[in-house]
């Protein structure tokens, strides 16, 4: 109990730093989450309306009908039949699609020639979207004409078809209606709070306890060495539980129950508990290699910010480039973030996704174990050097 007490006496003195890290994290998480719109994909569907320019070079019924049909789905814009003007309009994004209806378009269509020409920004969704609608219209006319309808009848038919309302039903393939739970954003940023708070509290105690003469005093006392180590272990666990508990209480209040009333509760909790284990192991390492509070402070910032940036907590991995993405795989934050992303993206997990979640959690456990092993080796070496 005495050894256990010393941890918490010292941690109490640094409680402001712990709260600071948790406060910053909660602030970031809430701000980021608030900036996202909450329109789920099954809540409603509205077709996209684009600015489409039509250059009519010959007029006629086909051109008029095509403009009428396109006008039902998009906003039509008039521009000059000038190649340079067309290029500029597309370049500045004033229009997304330019349709040129050729002279004698109907005749050309009937003769199997190209009746219209389109100019778009290559590779854009708009290009494919409008192009598909134009082609569908022309195919309808072509089919009607081949079926013996007159051009007027064919055009009337095409307009009638275009005005039929389409019922769109979106399938909730991911099981979460396309919405990430609010608390998923909170959990996404939690590693920063865990790392900062654990290092700033636990490392200070470890740094103090590893001082040669304090260790000498402890070892020459009547408290067995095993008991001292056990007390240290319990202190680690209690500290981890306190930081984790504070974060859970905050999310419960912020999101009205948060993870406790949502999807994948067990996985979220397990992923965060395992990351707390990672944070404690890193705090153990940091305290072992730091000799002064200044060094410790610097290391706390480098580790917490560095791991969060490189592991995809603060910025998506894709933004870091391919090479950096490969490096990130060696970081526990990457696996935490990946697991959290899976839990956020899917309301229901299939077998493969469940496997990925467990893999992410297992890799974090391995990282923590490796970190503890390295720290113990360093401590052993430090003890031998001091002896």
């Amino acid at each position: 109990m005495t050894v256990f007490k010393v941890y918490f006496l010292i941690i109490r003195r640094n409680f402001a730093a712990i709260l600071m890290y948790i406060g910053i994290f909660a602030g970031i998480a809430v701000a980021i989450q608030a900036s996202f719109q909450h329109t789920g994909m099954t809540e409603g569907f509205s077709a996209m309306k684009l600015d489409v320019a039509v250059v009519d070079r010959g007029g006629g019924i086909l051109s008029e009908t095509l403009q009428e049909v396109l006008g039902l789905q998009h906003d039509l814009v008039t521009i000059a039949d000038d190649e340079q003007v067309i290029q500029e309009e597309l370049y500045y994004g004033n229009v997304k699609y330019v349709l040129i209806v050729k002279d004698k378009a109907l005749e050309k269509l009937q003769a199997g020639e190209q009746a219209v020409q389109s100019i778009t920004v290559p590779g854009t969704i708009a290009a494919y979207y409008v192009e598909a609608q134009v082609n569908a219209f022309l195919n309808e006319i072509r089919t009607a004409l081949a079926g013996g309808f007159s051009p007027e009848e064919a055009c009337q038919e095409a307009v009638a078809l275009a005005t039929i309302p389409v019922n769109v039903e979106l399938v909730d393939k991911n099981g979460n209606a396309g919405i990430r739970e609010d608390y998923n954003y909170y959990f996404a940023y939690m590693p920063y709070a865990f790392l900062g708070a654990a290092i700033m509290s636990l490392s200070i105690v470890i740094m103090e306890l590893k001082k040669k003469d304090i260790r000498r005093r402890m070892q020459s006392s009547s408290v067995p060495f095993l008991k001292q180590n056990l007390a240290a272990l319990i202190s680690f666990a209690v500290l981890g539980a306190v930081i984790w508990g504070i974060c859970m209480v905050i999310q419960t209040f912020l999101y009205r129950g948060g993870v406790f009333g949502g999807n994948h509760t067990g996985y979220y909790l397990l992923n965060s508990i395992v990351f707390m284990l990672v944070s404690l192991s890193l705090a153990y390492l940091t305290g072992t290699v730091s000799n002064t509070p200044t060094v410790l402070n610097g290391m706390a910032n480098v580790i917490s910010l560095g791991l969060c940036f490189l592991g995809g907590i603060f910025v998506p991995i894709e933004m870091l480039g391919e090479k950096m993405g490969k490096v990130s795989r060696f970081l526990p934050t990457y696996w935490y973030s990946k697991t959290n992303g899976l839990l956020g993206d899917y309301g229901v997990l299939d077998a493969e996704q469940i496997k990925s979640v467990w893999l992410g959690i297992a890799i974090q456990v391995v990282f923590a174990a490796a970190c503890i092993a390295v720290t113990m080796a360093i401590r052993q070496r430090q003890l031998q050097e001091k002896e």
């Binding site: 010393v6 000498r216 006392s221 002896e387």
Partner: protein, 311 residues
Amino acid sequence: MIHIENLVKRYGEVLALDHLNLDIAEGEIFGLLGPNGSGKTTAINCLLALLKYDKGEITVFGEPMHPESYEQKRQIGIVPQNVAVFEQMSVYENIDYFCGLYVKEKQKRRELVEEAIAFVGLEDYRKMLPRKLSGGLLRRLNIACGIAHQPRLIILDEPTVAVDPQSRNKILEGIVALNKKGSTIIYTSHYMEEVEQICTRIVIMDHGRCIASGTTEELKRMIKTGETICIEGVMLTDGQTEAIRALPHVFQADYAQEENRLVIKCTSAKHNLIRVLNYLQQEEVPFGRVFSELPTLNDVFLEITGKELRD
């Protein structure tokens, strides 16, 4: 109380303790004197079972000492050479913590901590953090942390290093007071004056060996020098120096011509100084300041090892 027999400790090729033998009786203030690197701290660490040793036997309170000898450890207090306290804990918390490693009962511990605070005179600094204390006060805190549980045996490992003279005296007085209260003290130092001042028995160590032991007087009697006479501002011929060397009880006379200084070592006898001064008057040799010194522990060390204690 403590028996160390043929203790050998090696650090690789270096022989830190070379068949060390020590016996310490209850109630002593036992001084372990020796230059830096002589093996004092290693001996203490072996005694506390903090270090494994290669050969030998250690018994404390009549029982063999092992790392798991917690009952014996309960009766020992250690004051390490460097200040070993928690920077983030107050004076009271530090003493309470280290006392708590020995005394579980809260009420009793509170009393002991208060006694320790009063003993080292830190009553006004209870709530202060160590970084706000001066060097002397820090040393006192270091001592309080080691003695608060009122151990039967207190080991003080060079507790006055880098301490101002005023605090040093206070610490030395405190150690004597602890001994009077019933604790046996092991005091290691390379300051011979301190050891001479407070220790009832002394062991001089060098190269991991005990080279002499006894009370201050016994140690001084072991050597030839009984008195050292120093005469300054004196000009002597070679013949006169030789004549002084031939005086009764004089066994060494060194004349430094550049400094006009004569140092004479005599065996223990009456009227050594008078005989030397009579000779100088007889030869009509003028001289300046004259003083005579009784042998110190440094002389003991010098004569036994051929080198100064502080080399």
